[in-house]
Amino acid sequence: MIKKIISLSLILIPFITYSQDDLMDMLGSEKDSTSSPEKVSYTFKAIKLINANTIETTKKKTLDFRITHRFGNMGISDGTGRHSLYGLDNATNIRFSLDYGLTDRLMIGIGRSKTQEHIDGNLKFRFLDQKKEGVPISAAYFVNVALSPVATVADNKFENRMSYTHQLIIASKISRGVSLEILPTLVHRNYVANIVNPDNNEILDNNENNLMALGFAGRFKITKRMSFVLDYFLTLSEFKADYNYYDALGIGVEIETGGHVFHINLTNSAGIIENDFIPNTRDFWGDDGYKLGFNISRVFSF
């Protein structure tokens, strides 16, 4: 009798285990065993926040046409705003740019700004992707060359028109709603004006050709298509501190509507490219120095 029970149960074992094999469970376990850690995508919506570059590049065969605009100082506390429609009458700076994805990781771009008539060419290469497990950050390298074709230049030398930026972009999408960035940046200007005594041309203080800055940027989603964004560049320079130059700080709202990404922002910087807003920001937030601005991006695929 006992033998029979044992043999019967032995026969039944395959049935029992079989009936427990739900197809979904089997699919689930298979999936876990094969998939490698997932890449974290869409850290930011566009290639730029307000002043800062983002980790994103335009994808392969995609062209991003951008218009970046900075109005005049709003002049709220000193009352000048009433006569300039809070700066909207003035265009402190406008930059038109085209950025194109050669691959999904490599992007090249050109732009033209109003201030210093800067024409810039740039390249961004994303070399590291954040993963759900194991890799907590994404990283990219950004470099640009800017030419200032203004009518007169110091010593009438062509090389004095040139400036360069090297930047490392380190980003992390902390959650669905929060993305953060740190951007160690080096700006090199071939020519800088020293502080001189106007009477005898004696150099009182040397300006700096190389400027180091550390950028911080963040995006905080309010809804699926709207975010609060901000970026700040801490410029490490004694010269600037002594002669009333300031760090660029931008805050804004990012709105996505179909093919457009639209920013409305407030910044104290007039410059739009790194070569300009890192060394040349002379307005101070606390002193009515902020201006309205917008960035519009329209993406075309080929």
Partner: protein, 182 residues
């Protein structure tokens, strides 16, 4: 002693037949198509995992949402970020039972079938009857079907500004090749 051998053979047979009943997707694609006068959007996903049990005619497939590939990267971004919310709803799933008037898994042929089951898209499960064709040839099975998804049914909201660009009803095509699981 003889009895034990018999039992062992019996167990062996069951396990063998068990394995024979199960078919696994070797290749397959799930695609969808949204058509409006303004814009056509289509995407293909080859990251499909599927199993078919010929013993009880149960079928299940899982598709990774982030695996849908679009012609335009921006469409792909919007699909993942705004509509499918792929980081929240990682997969779309169908699980059901196939039936057909003359369906016989042991015979080669082309069968008109209906898969009755649950379709889970964007975290919302819907009872669906999906019509398709099941083809058996040389021990290989192909399942082919077409159905429509009403985006509203799955709580996928289309904002007013793009309402002219995205269809309210999206056509989905399924084409999966199964081979016996070893």
């Amino acid at each position: 002693m003889n009895r034990y051998i018999l039992i062992l053979i019996l167990i062996g047979t069951f396990q063998f037949s068990n394995a024979q009943n199960l078919f696994q997707a070797t290749s397959g694609e799930i695609s969808f198509f949204s058509e409006t006068p303004m814009e056509n959007i289509d995407a293909i996903n080859k990251d499909v995992k599927a199993l078919l049990n010929t013993k009880n005619a149960e079928v299940a497939f899982i598709v990774t949402n982030i695996g849908f590939k679009f012609k335009k990267p921006l469409m792909e971004e919007h699909f993942n970020e705004n509509y499918m919310e792929s980081d929240k709803y990682k997969v779309s799933v169908f699980k059901g039972k196939i039936s057909g008037d003359v369906l016989d898994f042991s015979k080669d042929g082309e069968y008109k079938v209906i898969a009755k089951g649950k379709l889970d898209v964007h975290g919302v499960e819907k009872e669906r009857d999906i019509k398709g064709t099941l083809t058996i040839k040389d021990g290989k099975i192909n399942v082919n079907g077409e159905f429509e998804i009403v985006l509203k049914d799955h709580k996928i909201k289309i904002p007013k500004v793009v309402v002219q660009n995205i269809a309210e009803v999206v056509k989905v095509k399924v084409d999966i090749n199964f081979e016996e699981k070893k």
